[in-house]
């Protein structure tokens, strides 16, 4: 394990307490400081951060300087007889007022930056960001695009069975895509518990509160892939729901939008297709891995007391109608959310079929399967 510590850091292992000032030369600055980010706001925030940092350093040097001096010069050995003063009103007034003035000087730029951040009006592009346990949903309000963004890192990497990739825990299957130079506004909310959408490079961190909407905006001038995280404890897989934003040129963005729309169309065509049990089961396994495993676990055994097992569940074994219902509607007031908007008809049918057949459920239950048409049927308004 120790070989992961670079040589310079082995050195610092010993000298950490003293490293505070020399550190920049030993490790890359960005490894230990706030990111500057790529927007005007994030740069302003960074400058603010450095400003208060240096103010604190200077105050610290003065204050500790006096203290270390007297620790040295006024030790019992050097100064056997202590002075007797214990009050000085003038001095006390000075050290009340001077810090106050310093604070006022810091508060001015801070308040200005804050007011800039709050100048939040309609964006060119409005994206609704919804936090789920444990993934993000992105809805492009103008373009009718709607998808989920899941952690891509393999669980084998997380459990140290395979080597970790470069973007370990910072990669998703589908990043949000936004165009360069446009004002993008995020409408942030959540479906279950509180999450928080953090993109350090834009200096945006906004809590996603179920039932309420918070907003944040950005204009990014530099194309690239930016990585952030969920920063509000949201349950077991809080560490495993990263945020990735791809900023692309205007043309690329337009192309991406039309591709996304075409994809949605292809999806609806799939619904019409006649599916075999095997096809559904295979597809379902994939869907399960991505959407259900976090709670109901690898073998459908669940976690006692919080997430019920699907293996041997009466609903899954014998009650097809109820099974469809619980996936479409969710179970009110529990972590079991509605998957109706998250999964296509095909994926919905596939995952239900899969859970009804896997882990010996096929033998114990009635083995009925669910096909996409069932879901379409369920969705039709009931007369």
């Amino acid at each position: 394990m120790l070989n992961r510590i670079s040589r310079s850091n082995k050195f610092s292992l010993i000298f950490t307490p003293f490293l505070f000032l020399t550190q920049p030369t030993l490790a890359a600055w960005y490894d230990i400081n706030m990111t500057k980010g790529v927007t005007t706001v994030s740069n302003e925030v960074f400058d603010l951060h450095m400003l208060i940092f240096w103010v604190c350093v200077v105050i610290g040097i003065v204050v500790f300087g006096v203290m270390f001096y007297s620790m040295f010069a006024h030790s019992k050995k050097r100064n056997p007889n202590s002075a007797t003063f214990h009050e000085n009103t003038k001095l006390e007034i000075v050290w009340t007022i001077v810090p106050f003035l310093i604070l006022v000087l810091m508060a001015i730029p801070a308040s200005n930056t804050l007011m800039n951040i709050y100048k939040d009006v309609e964006g060119d592009i409005n994206i609704q960001v919804v936090g789920y346990q444990w993934k993000w949903q992105y809805k492009y309000l103008e373009d009718d695009i709607d998808f989920f963004s899941n952690l891509k890192t393999d669980w084998d990497e997380i459990y140290n069975k395979t080597p970790k990739g470069e973007f370990y825990l910072q990669e998703v299957d589908e990043p949000v895509v936004i165009p360069v130079g446009k004002k993008v506004r995020f409408l942030i909310t959540a479906n279950d518990v509180i999450h928080s959408w953090w993109m350090p490079d834009f200096a945006i961190k906004q809590d996603a509160i179920p039932g309420f909407i918070n907003t944040a905006w950005t204009v990014v001038d530099k194309p690239g892939t930016y990585r952030g995280k969920c920063t509000e404890l949201c349950g077991k897989n809080h560490a495993f729901m990263p945020v990735v934003v791809r900023v692309v040129s205007d043309e690329d963005y337009k192309e991406w939008v039309s591709n996304k729309k075409a994809e949605a169309y292809r999806m609806s065509e799939l619904t019409e297709k006649n599916w075999t049990v095997e096809e559904l089961k295979t597809r379902g396994e994939g869907v399960y891995q991505k959407n259900c495993i976090a709670c109901h676990q690898t073998n459908g055994q669940g976690i006692p007391g919080i997430f019920p097992p699907l293996t041997g569940s009466d609903v899954v074994l014998n009650n097809k109608a109820k099974n469809i219902e619980i996936l479409m509607e969710g179970a009110q007031g529990t972590a079991m959310q509605s998957f109706a908007n998250q999964l296509s008809e095909v994926d919905m049918a596939a995952v239900i079929t899969y859970t009804r057949l896997a882990w010996g459920n096929a033998d114990d239950g009635n083995g009925e399967i669910v096909v996409p048409k069932d879901i379409v049927e369920y969705k039709k308004p009931k007369a």
Binding site: G211, F212, I213
Partner: protein, 301 residues
């Protein structure tokens, strides 16, 4: 004043029993609540045993304190400790209610308007289409079946219906009980025990009346108004505030009745030294003030 010895009991077995009682109470309460709906659960007996131990312990504890007082072990200074102690205890109760009043203030001025599309965070309304902010909240943001929507609320019904409006009567009852307990106090100071007992008796009677009316109000709410704990935030704040207040009325009423018994059966109170009674009456005034706030913020405004 010359120095009086401060009485420090050498040791006491009551506190540890009280602590054990609290332990039984909380484990009992928690497991009973977790087992709600499970018919074969026995947890409630732990809860009962906790109550029993607690009641017995407190009885003996207070009896001992009373006896110490009667044999003159306490000093003026010790009495002052009790006075301060009670005052700070009441302050802690004030802060407990403050939490609930604060919650009421927040939902009325911020959460509900935002959900209804008003104010700085009004964007939230796109998640709750069709919800309009109003107070009392007669329909919840989620119009689904999860909530029992009330048909009527408890607010001021207008002068035409004022006479059938229970909270008004409750206010009359409770305010007058504050007056009667004060008369009792005056009587006691004049060393008029009989009059003291009568006024205190009336106060206890008014406390019972209040609780009775409150029960009637809750019955109305559940049976005829469809207003329940499950009616969204209006029901939540309404029942929690009035419920905790009602609970405190019961506690205060209980304290006053204990004082009544002590006076009637044991003739415990001295015209110049009767802190037990005073503490109970302070508590009673405090409960009364809370009601006035409730009347204002829950019912009228």
């Amino acid at each position: 004043m010359s120095y009086q010895k401060y009485y420090v009991p050498e040791s006491s077995r009551y506190p540890i029993f009280a602590a054990i009682a609290l332990f039984l109470l909380v484990t009992g309460a928690a497991s009973t609540i977790n087992d709600l709906g499970k018919p074969d659960s026995n947890s409630v007996y732990i809860l009962y045993s906790g109550f029993a131990v607690f009641a017995i312990t407190l009885f003996f504890w207070f009896r001992t304190v009373t006896k110490e007082h009667l044999v003159g072990l306490d000093s003026a200074q010790l009495k002052k400790s009790f006075v301060f102690g009670m005052a700070w205890f009441i302050f802690s109760e004030v802060m407990f209610f403050a939490a609930f009043f604060g919650a009421l203030f927040y939902v009325r001025n911020f959460a509900v308007p935002w959900l209804g599309g008003e104010g700085e965070k009004g964007l939230a309304n796109i998640l709750w289409e069709g919800f309009e902010a109003s107070w009392p909240v007669m329909s919840t943001p989620d119009l689904g079946s999860a909530f029992s929507l009330p048909e009527k609320n408890m607010s001021w019904p207008g002068w035409g219906h004022a006479m059938e409006w229970l909270p008004l009567w409750n206010t009359v009852v409770l305010l007058s009980s504050s007056v009667t307990v004060h008369f009792a106090h005056l009587a006691l100071k004049n060393n008029n025990k009989r009059v003291f007992n009568i006024w205190l008796g009336i106060t206890v009677g008014l406390a019972l009346t209040f609780v009775g009316l409150q029960v009637a109000e809750y019955y109305e709410a559940y049976a005829h108004y469809g207003l329940t704990l499950n009616s969204g935030i209006y029901g939540s704040t309404f029942f929690m505030l009035t419920g905790f207040h009602g609970f405190h009325v019961m506690m205060g009423g209980f304290m006053l009745s204990v004082m009544l018994c002590r006076s009637v059966f044991y003739n415990h109170f001295d015209p110049h030294d009767h802190f037990g009674f005073e503490a109970a009456s302070w508590y009673w005034h405090f409960v009364d003030v809370v009601w006035v706030m409730l009347f204002l913020f829950v019912y009228i405004l």
